[in-house]
C-alpha cells in the first residue's frame, strides 16, 4: 500500500522517530545493556521475595505496631508516578497544550509501567501472598465474598479500572503510528505491526472516529486521574489513625501524585531525549513548561502541609497533636524535613527562568522531588503507625536490607519494562506531531 505523499519535514519526523528501530552499534549495546542490568536487578528482588515468603515477614523491619512500611510507601509512590502520564496526555490534551505532544508517549508508557510496578507491592507485602487471589470477587463453593467496605477493595477496583483505561488510551494513540511503522518495514516486523495497527488506513472516516474516541477517553481518564489517587488516599484517610484520618488527604494525594509523576517525567525524559536524539521534538521549552506545572503543584502540596500542621496544632485532639509533633520533632524528623526541602522548597527554584532552561537543574530537581515524594509517603505510612493512641505500644520502624533491595528491585522492574516498551514503539507520537506542525503552519 503506497503511503500518502509526505512533505520533506513530515518525512523527517517519521525518520527521526523511527530511528530507534535501527540502532547504531553503540546505541544497541547501551540499550540492551541497560535492559539487561535492570532485568538482573529485579531478578534478585524476585529471589528475595521468594525468600521472604518462605521465611515469613520477620525478614522485613515491619513490627508491632508499624505493620506497613516501605512496601506500602512504594505502592503509593508508584501509583503517584502513574498519574503524570495521564495528566500530560489527557488533561493537557483537553486544554490543547500542544507542547505536551512530544513527551506524551513516554509519559503514558511510564503510567502503564508504573502501574505494573505499583500493583506488585500490595501483593508482595501480604502475610500470605499466595492467597492474594482472595481479593478478587469470584464465585466459589464456600460462599466467601470480599468486603466492599474495605478501602483495599476500593483500591483494587480503582487501580484495575485505571490500568485498563490507560492501556486503551495509550494503544489508541499508537494505532496510526503503528501503521506508519508497518508501512515502512518488511518481513516479520511488518507482520507484527500489521496486527498491531489493526488495519489502519488513514481514511478520513477513520481519523474522525479516532479523534472522537481519543477525546472521549481523555475525558474519562481525566476523571480517573482524580479518583484513583483519592481512593488510594482513603486507604489511610478511612482509618482512624491520627495522621491518617484526615479529609484533606484526597486532594493532597492527587496533587502529590501528579507532582511526583511530572518530576519522574523530567528524570526519565532528559536522558531518553539524548539517547533517542529527539532534542528537536522534546524541546527545553516543553520541559520548562513541565517545570512550571511542578511549581504549581508543589505550592498546592505546601498549602496542604501548612493546613495539616494548622489543624493538628490548633485542633482539640491531643493525640493528633502529639502524633504531628512526633513526626516533625520526634525521632523520624529527618523524614519530615527532607520532604519539606525536596517537595516544598526545591521546586521553587523553577521560578527562575535560568533554572527552567538548564537540563542539569531540571534533572537534579526532578530527582530530588522524586526522592522527597517517596520519603513523604514513607513518613505518612510509618510515623502515624509508630505513635498513635496507646503510648504503651509506640514503636519504631527500620527497613531491612531485604525490604530495601526489593524496593530497589521495583525500580529495576520499572525501568526494564519502560525501556523495553519505549524501544519498540514510536517514542514520540508521529501522527500528532505532524498534526501540530500542520496547525502551526496554518496559523
Amino acid at each position: 500500500m503506497p503511503g500518502p505523499s509526505l512533505s520533506p519535514s513530515f518525512q523527517r519526523v517519521t525518520d527521526d522517530v523511527l530511528r530507534t528501530f535501527t540502532w547504531t552499534r553503540v546505541g544497541w549495546f547501551a540499550y540492551w545493556g541497560a535492559v539487561g542490568l535492570c532485568g538482573y536487578g529485579w531478578s534478585i528482588a524476585a529471589v528475595l521475595w521468594w525468600y521472604q515468603m518462605r521465611a515469613g515477614l520477620h525478614v522485613t523491619g515491619l513490627d508491632h505496631p508499624v505493620m506497613w512500611g516501605v512496601y506500602i510507601a512504594s505502592f503509593v509512590f508508584w501509583i503517584g508516578i502513574a498519574h503524570s502520564g495521564t495528566f500530560i496526555s489527557a488533561i493537557l490534551f483537553l486544554f490543547r497544550a500542544t507542547w505536551r505532544t512530544a513527551i506524551a508517549r513516554a509519559a503514558e508508557t511510564m503510567t502503564i509501567v508504573a502501574l505494573m510496578t505499583a500493583v506488585i507491592f500490595p501483593v508482595l507485602h501480604l502475610g500470605r501472598a499466595w492467597r492474594a487471589y482472595w481479593l478478587i470477587p469470584y464465585p466459589n463453593e464456600r460462599g466467601l465474598w470480599i468486603n466492599f467496605s474495605s478501602p483495599l477493595i476500593w483500591d483494587a477496583v480503582a487501580i484495575a479500572t485505571y490500568f485498563l483505561v490507560s492501556v486503551l488510551f495509550w494503544y489508541l494513540e499508537l494505532v496510526p503510528d503503528f501503521a506508519v511503522v508497518r508501512d515502512r518495514s518488511e518481513g516479520r516486523q511488518r507482520r507484527i505491526f500489521r496486527l498491531l495497527a489493526l488495519g489502519w488506513s488513514a481514511t478520513a472516516g477513520e481519523w474522525r472516529a479516532y479523534r472522537k474516541a481519543y477525546g472521549l477517553l481523555a475525558a474519562v481518564i481525566t476523571a480517573l486521574v482524580v479518583s484513583v489517587h483519592s481512593i488510594v488516599s482513603w486507604d489511610f484517610a478511612a482509618a482512624i489513625l491520627p495522621g491518617w484520618h484526615s479529609t484533606i488527604f484526597a486532594p493532597y494525594f492527587v496533587a502529590g501524585a501528579i507532582l511526583s509523576g511530572l518530576a519522574m517525567v523530567l528524570t526519565l525524559i532528559i536522558p531518553a531525549r539524548a539517547l533517542l536524539g529527539a532534542q528537536r521534538y522534546i524541546t527545553i521549552e516543553a520541559l520548562g513548561k513541565v517545570a512550571g506545572l511542578i511549581v504549581a503543584l508543589s505550592l498546592i502540596l505546601t498549602y496542604s502541609y501548612v493546613m495539616e500542621a494548622f489543624f493538628a496544632l490548633r485542633g482539640t485532639h491531643p493525640v493528633e497533636r502529639d502524633s504531628y509533633l512526633f513526626r516533625v520533632a520526634g525521632p523520624p524528623w529527618p523524614l519530615f524535613w527532607t520532604t519539606m526541602v525536596c517537595v516544598s522548597i526545591a521546586p521553587l527554584m523553577f521560578l527562575a527562568e535560568r533554572v527552567r532552561r538548564s537540563l542539569t537543574a531540571l534533572f537534579c530537581i526532578g530527582l530530588a522531588i522524586n526522592a522527597g515524594m517517596w520519603i513523604e509517603r514513607l513518613m505518612i505510612v510509618t510515623t502515624s503507625l509508630a505513635h498513635d493512641f496507646d503510648p504503651y505500644v509506640w514503636g519504631v520502624y527500620r527497613p531491612t536490607v531485604v525490604e530495601l533491595a526489593i524496593v530497589g528491585g521495583s525500580g529495576c522492574w520499572f525501568l526494564f519494562w519502560f525501556l523495553l516498551l519505549l524501544g519498540h514503539i514510536p517514542a514520540i507520537p508521529i501522527a500528532e506531531t505532524k498534526e501540530n506542525m500542520q496547525e502551526a503552519e496554518r496559523a
Binding site: H64, S150, V393, W394
Partner: protein
C-alpha cells in the same frame, strides 16, 4: 520369582504387624490414658481435670491439671483449695512448661572418670546408690545427708524413716527464701515459734517493711486475693491504705498508696521509731497497758529524731504514720522479704511484731495456731553446719532432691565442701548448677507426674496425683527410696514395706480403710481442707531482746546492693520457662535478660545510661550486668534480681544476666551488701524493654483513676454519637468483660494463662527486641509520680490489662478486604485464621493495638508441642491473631448447657485470664443478662471505656482505680 497380589498383601501384613508389635520405649506402658477417674468418664478429645498441688514454690496452691487424651495441656487453680481459691500466679501457670521442659533429664545418668555424664539403666543407678548407702551405714552414724525441697506429709515421713534406716537424721529442707526470722520473732514476742498467718483482708491499713507479699513472700496468691478484698473496701468507701517502706519499689510497692524510701537496713529502726511514737503519744492498745513501762524504757532510744540518720525518714512522717497505723484498726504490719534479709533480720521481725502488738493487731490480722510448713525449713545456719560437716569428710552420700543450693547460695563454703563428698546423688528432673556437681543423677518425675502430698499450713492438706503418665525415663524418688530400702540387709522396716510410693501416699490418706471415704474425696477435691483453730496469744516482756541498732556500716562513697526475687524467676528455678522469660517483668518491663536497677540521679552521677554494661564489684565478688534506670530505687542503691545468670545449659535460661549470689556475703543469710562500686565495662547489652511509657499530661488517660468519694469525677457520660448504620443486633448473647483496675496488681498471671490456653508462640529475645512478641494480653503500667510530701512519696501506678476490646463498632472489621475478621452474632470480633491473607490493615486501624501478626512460623521445642490446646488452632506464618475471649471456652460452655438442656448460667464460661486472676479483677459474662456480674459491673459508677471518644463501643468496661483522698 513372581509376587502375586495376595503374597504382597501377606508380606505387608506380616511386616507391619511385626513393626507394630515392637515396643518403642523400654518403659512399661501401663495405660495409654491414666485412668484416675472411672474410665467411663474419659472420652477421647474431652478434657478431664485432675486435682493436684502446685510445687513451684512452697506456698502450695491447689491445682487442677486439664488433661486431654492423656496429656496435661493446661493447669488452673483448684477452686476448693483454701490457699488459692482457684487462682494461680504466672509461675503456677508456667509449671506446665517445666513439665514439658525440652532440657529435662531423660533418664538416670552417672558421671564417668572423665567428668562426662553418661546414661545408665535404673537398675545400675539404684544398685550404685544402695551400695554407697550400705558402706556409709557401715562407717557410722549420720554419714548420709538429704538436702531437698520442703516436703510435708507422706514424703516427709518416707524420707525420715528411710534416712533412719541408714542411721542418719541429717535431713534439711532447703528453700532459697527461708522465713526463719519470722519464726524466731514469734517465739520471742508471743512464745509460739511459728510463722503467723497474716490476714490482709481484715486489715484497714497495711504497712510493709520490704515484704513483697504480692510476689514471693510466703504465699503470694493468697495474699493477692486478700489484698484485693482490702482494695475493694476502699472502692466501697471504706478505709484502706497500704504504705510500703522499702529501699526499692517492687511490684508490691507499686501497688502501695505511698512509698517511704527507707535506707537499706533502716527498716528495723523505722519500725521501732513508729512503735516509739505510738507509745510516746500513748496510743497503744488497751490490752498492752501493763507493758507500757518497760516498752517506754526499751524504746527510749528510738525516738524518730534519733534514728532519722538510720532511716532517712522525717520524724513528722513517722509520727503521722504512727497515728494512721493505730487509728485504722485493725491494721497490719509485715516485714521481711529478701531485700530486708541480713544478719539483723530477726530484729526487724521482732520490731514488726511489736508494732502489730501495740496497735492491737495480734489475734486480729496476725493470728497464730496454724503451723506453716515453712516452719520446718532449714536455716542458713543449718546449711553452713552441713557444709562444714561435708568439708570435714563426715558425709559419704549427699542426696539432693529438687534443691539447687549451688546456684542460689553464695559461692564459697558449700561448693568447696561438695568436693569432699564421695557420692552426690541428685534427684533433679532438670539439669541445674547442683547436678553439675552430682556423681549420680536419678531424675524424679515432675510434680504433675507424681504422687505425693503437701500441706502448706496446718489443716490444709493438698494431695498430689499424677495428671499423666511420665513422658521420660524418670522414676519417682519415693519409688527409688522404697526400692533401695527393700534391698537393705534384713529387709525394710514395716513402715517402708510398701511396693510403691503411690501406695505409700494412698495408705497414709486412709485408702486401705474402705469405710473411710477420705481418699476418694481427696482425689476429687485435691486434698483435705479445714482451718486450724486460731490460738490467742499474749505478748511477753522481751525488753532484753529489743535490739540495739547500730549505724549500718555504709561506706560513704559506696552503694548498697540489694538482691530481690524476681516475681517470675522466683529464685531462678523458673528461668527455663520461656513464657516467664517472654512476659515483661511487671516492674522493669524487661524480657529475656537480667539487669541491675539504679536511680536516674545515680546513673547521671556515674555517667551511666540504660543498657550500659557495668561490673558490679562487692567485697565478695563481681558480676557484669546491664543497667536499667529506674526511679523506684533509692539513689544510694543498686538493685539486682535473683534468678538470672543460670549456667546449667538450659536453653532459655542460659546467658541471661548475672547470678547475684556471687556478690553476696558467703553466709547465705543476707541478700544485701554494702560498699558496692560500679564501673563501666564498655559495650552495651540491650535490655529489651517490652514497652515504655512516657507520661504525657496532654493525652487522654487510658488508665483512669478516681477517689472513693467521687468515682465519676471528670467523667460525664455523653450520649453516644449518631451512627450511619444501625447497631449490631446481638440476638442471644453479647459477651462482655469488666476489669477492675482497683483490684489488678499487675501480677501478669493472666498473661501466662493466655499463653497456655491459646497456644501463643514464644518468639525469643531477638524478636521481642524487634517488637514481635505474640501475647494477646499485656499489662500496661502508667506511673504518675505525685508531688512528694516529705519523705513520703506517692507513686501512682495503675496497671491496665490491655486485650482485644471486642468493639461493637470495631475499626478492624471494616478494613479487612476478605472478611477474615468480622462481627459475630454474639458480639465477638471473630478472627478467621484460614481466611486471613495478612494485609495487616486491621492492626493498623486498631486504636488499642492488640492484634498480633505471625511474622514467622511458630515452633515449640519438643516435647512442648504436647502442651498445645487441641481446641485452639495453631496459627501459621502470615496471619493475624488476637484475643478471642477464649471462644473455645464459650463453645464448650454453650455445649455443656445444651447437653444438660438448660440455659447458660452466669459463670459457666470463664476465659483463661479471668479464671486465674488472683485478685478476681477480670469478670466475664453476657451483657444481655441483666443479672450477670458483668452486666452489673458495666453499669458501675467507676466504669469507663478506654478511648471512649473514638466511639468503638468496646465490650470491656474498665473500673477506675481508687486513689486515696488527697488531704491538704
Amino acid at each position: 520369582m513372581t509376587i502375586g497380589r495376595r503374597d504382597f498383601l501377606k508380606v505387608i501384613g506380616a511386616v507391619s504387624g511385626a513393626a507394630a508389635s515392637q515396643r518403642c520405649s523400654p518403659a512399661p506402658i501401663e495405660t495409654l490414658i491414666p485412668y484416675l477417674v472411672p474410665p467411663e468418664n474419659i472420652v477421647p478429645g474431652e478434657a478431664s481435670f485432675i486435682a493436684t498441688t502446685c510445687r513451684e514454690c512452697p506456698a502450695g496452691c491447689g491445682m487442677l491439671a486439664k488433661t486431654v487424651d492423656g496429656r496435661v495441656i493446661k493447669v488452673e487453680g483448684n477452686p476448693r483449695h483454701p490457699v488459692n481459691a482457684g487462682a494461680l500466679c504466672a509461675r503456677g501457670q508456667a509449671s506446665i512448661q517445666s513439665l514439658y521442659d525440652p532440657d529435662r533429664l531423660r533418664g538416670p545418668l552417672t558421671r564417668g572418670r572423665d567428668g562426662q555424664l553418661r546414661a545408665i539403666t535404673w537398675d545400675e543407678g539404684e544398685a550404685r546408690l544402695a551400695a554407697a548407702l550400705r558402706d556409709a551405714r557401715a562407717r557410722g552414724r549420720n554419714r548420709v545427708a538429704w538436702v531437698g525441697r520442703l516436703e510435708t506429709g507422706s514424703l516427709e515421713r518416707l524420707v525420715r524413716d528411710w534416712l533412719a534406716l541408714f542411721d542418719s537424721d541429717r535431713r534439711l529442707f532447703f528453700e532459697t527464701f527461708d522465713f526463719e526470722p519470722l519464726r524466731r520473732a514469734s517465739g520471742i514476742v508471743v512464745g509460739r515459734p511459728e510463722i503467723p498467718r497474716y490476714r490482709f483482708d481484715r486489715a484497714n491499713f497495711v504497712l510493709s517493711f520490704g515484704a513483697d507479699f504480692l510476689e514471693t513472700w510466703l504465699s503470694n496468691v493468697e495474699f493477692m486475693r486478700e489484698y484485693a478484698a482490702l482494695r475493694r473496701r476502699r472502692a466501697a468507701g471504706g478505709e484502706a491504705s497500704f504504705v510500703m517502706a522499702a529501699p526499692r519499689l517492687s511490684l508490691t510497692g507499686l501497688n502501695a498508696d505511698e512509698w517511704m524510701p527507707v535506707k537499706p537496713g533502716g527498716e528495723t529502726a523505722l519500725a521501732l521509731a513508729i512503735a516509739h511514737a505510738i507509745v510516746a503519744e500513748d496510743l497503744l492498745d488497751a490490752r498492752l497497758r501493763p507493758h507500757l513501762p518497760w516498752m517506754r524504757s526499751a524504746l527510749a532510744s528510738f525516738a524518730p529524731e534519733a534514728v532519722q540518720s538510720l532511716t532517712d525518714v522525717r520524724p513528722d512522717d513517722v509520727r503521722l504514720l504512727a497515728r494512721q497505723f493505730v487509728s485504722a484498726t485493725p491494721s497490719l504490719a509485715v516485714g521481711g522479704g529478701a531485700s530486708a534479709r541480713d544478719a539483723r533480720a530477726d530484729a526487724l521481725e521482732i520490731a514488726v511484731l511489736l508494732l502489730n502488738a501495740v496497735a492491737g493487731n495480734l489475734d486480729r490480722t496476725v493470728t497464730f495456731g496454724g503451723a506453716s510448713a515453712l516452719d520446718a525449713l532449714a536455716t542458713p545456719g543449718d546449711m553452713r553446719s552441713l557444709a562444714a560437716a561435708m568439708a570435714r569428710g563426715e558425709i559419704d552420700v549427699l542426696l539432693i532432691h529438687h534443691a539447687n543450693p549451688a546456684y542460689t547460695r553464695p559461692s564459697g563454703d558449700l561448693e568447696a565442701a561438695l568436693a569432699h563428698v564421695p557420692l552426690i546423688v541428685s534427684f533433679a528432673s532438670s539439669p541445674d548448677e547442683t547436678t553439675a556437681h552430682a556423681h549420680l543423677i536419678l531424675p524424679d518425675h515432675h510434680s504433675l507426674e507424681s504422687w505425693g502430698d503437701y500441706a502448706p499450713r496446718e489443716g490444709v492438706e493438698g494431695l498430689l496425683q499424677p495428671a499423666m503418665t511420665p513422658i521420660l525415663e524418670t522414676r519417682a524418688t519415693g519409688d527409688v527410696l522404697l526400692r533401695v530400702a527393700r534391698g537393705v540387709d534384713g529387709g525394710p522396716p514395716p513402715a517402708l514395706s510398701v511396693d510403691s510410693c503411690a501406695s505409700y501416699v494412698a495408705a497414709s490418706w486412709g485408702q486401705s480403710n474402705p469405710a473411710d471415704e477420705g481418699w476418694t474425696t481427696a482425689l476429687k477435691s485435691g486434698g483435705r481442707f479445714s482451718e486450724a483453730d486460731e490460738i490467742p496469744v499474749t505478748i511477753r516482756d522481751f525488753r532484753a531482746v529489743i535490739p540495739s541498732v547500730s549505724e549500718p556500716a555504709v561506706a560513704a562513697a559506696g552503694l548498697t546492693l540489694i538482691a530481690f526475687p524476681s516475681p517470675f524467676m522466683y529464685d531462678g528455678r523458673s528461668a527455663n520457662c520461656s513464657w516467664l522469660q517472654e512476659i515483661p517483668d511487671p516492674v522493669s518491663h524487661t524480657v529475656w535478660n537480667g539487669w541491675i536497677e539504679i536511680h536516674p540521679d545515680t546513673a547521671h552521677r556515674l555517667g551511666l545510661a540504660q543498657d550500659d554494661l557495668v561490673t558490679v564489684q562487692t567485697a565478695h565478688g563481681r558480676a557484669t550486668a546491664a543497667v536499667r534506670v529506674y526511679e523506684g530505687v533509692r539513689p544510694d542503691l543498686v538493685a539486682m534480681p535473683i534468678g538470672y545468670g543460670r549456667t546449667a545449659g538450659l536453653r532459655h535460661a542460659e546467658n541471661r544476666g548475672a547470678r547475684v549470689a556471687e556478690l553476696l556475703p558467703p553466709d547465705g543469710a543476707s541478700w544485701r551488701t554494702d560498699g558496692v562500686s560500679l564501673s563501666r565495662v564498655g559495650g552495651r547489652r540491650l535490655i529489651v524493654l517490652q514497652s515504655t511509657t512516657e507520661p504525657s499530661t496532654s493525652r487522654p488517660a487510658l488508665a483512669q483513676t478516681s477517689t472513693a468519694s467521687a468515682p465519676t469525677e471528670g467523667h460525664e457520660k455523653e450520649p453516644p454519637p449518631a451512627d450511619l448504620y444501625p447497631p449490631h443486633a446481638h440476638l442471644q448473647h453479647r459477651w462482655g468483660m469488666a476489669i477492675d483496675l482497683n483490684a489488678c496488681t499487675g501480677c501478669s498471671a493472666c498473661v501466662a494463662a493466655c499463653y497456655s490456653e491459646n497456644n501463643i508462640p514464644v518468639v525469643g529475645e531477638r524478636a521481642c527486641a524487634e517488637g514481635r512478641e505474640m501475647s494477646w494480653i499485656r499489662i500496661e503500667r502508667y506511673d504518675a509520680p505525685r508531688a512528694q510530701r516529705g519523705g513520703r512519696r506517692r507513686f501512682e501506678s495503675v496497671f491496665l490489662p490491655m486485650l482485644c476490646q471486642q468493639c461493637d463498632e470495631a475499626p478492624c472489621e471494616a478494613v479487612c478486604p476478605v472478611y477474615a475478621t468480622y462481627h459475630n452474632p454474639e458480639g465477638l470480633n471473630a478472627q478467621v485464621y484460614v481466611r486471613c491473607i495478612g494485609t495487616r490493615f486491621c492492626s493498623n486501624n486498631c486504636p488499642y493495638k492488640v492484634r498480633r501478626f505471625n511474622w514467622a512460623r511458630p515452633s515449640w521445642p519438643a516435647p512442648h508441642q504436647m502442651a498445645l490446646n487441641p481446641d485452639v488452632t495453631v496459627r501459621s506464618a502470615g496471619v493475624m491473631e488476637k484475643c478471642s475471649f477464649c471462644v473455645q471456652r464459650i463453645h464448650a460452655g454453650k455445649n455443656a448447657a445444651a447437653r444438660e438442656a438448660r440455659t447458660l448460667r452466669d459463670g459457666d464460661i470463664v476465659p483463661a485470664c479471668a479464671q486465674t486472676c488472683p485478685a478476681d479483677a477480670i469478670v466475664f459474662g453476657d451483657l444481655h443478662d441483666p443479672s450477670s456480674r458483668v452486666a452489673r459491673l458495666a453499669q458501675d459508677s467507676r466504669g469507663y471505656h478506654v478511648l471512649e471518644e473514638l466511639n468503638t463501643r468496646p465490650a470491656i468496661t474498665y473500673l477506675k482505680r481508687i486513689m486515696p483522698e488527697s488531704k491538704g
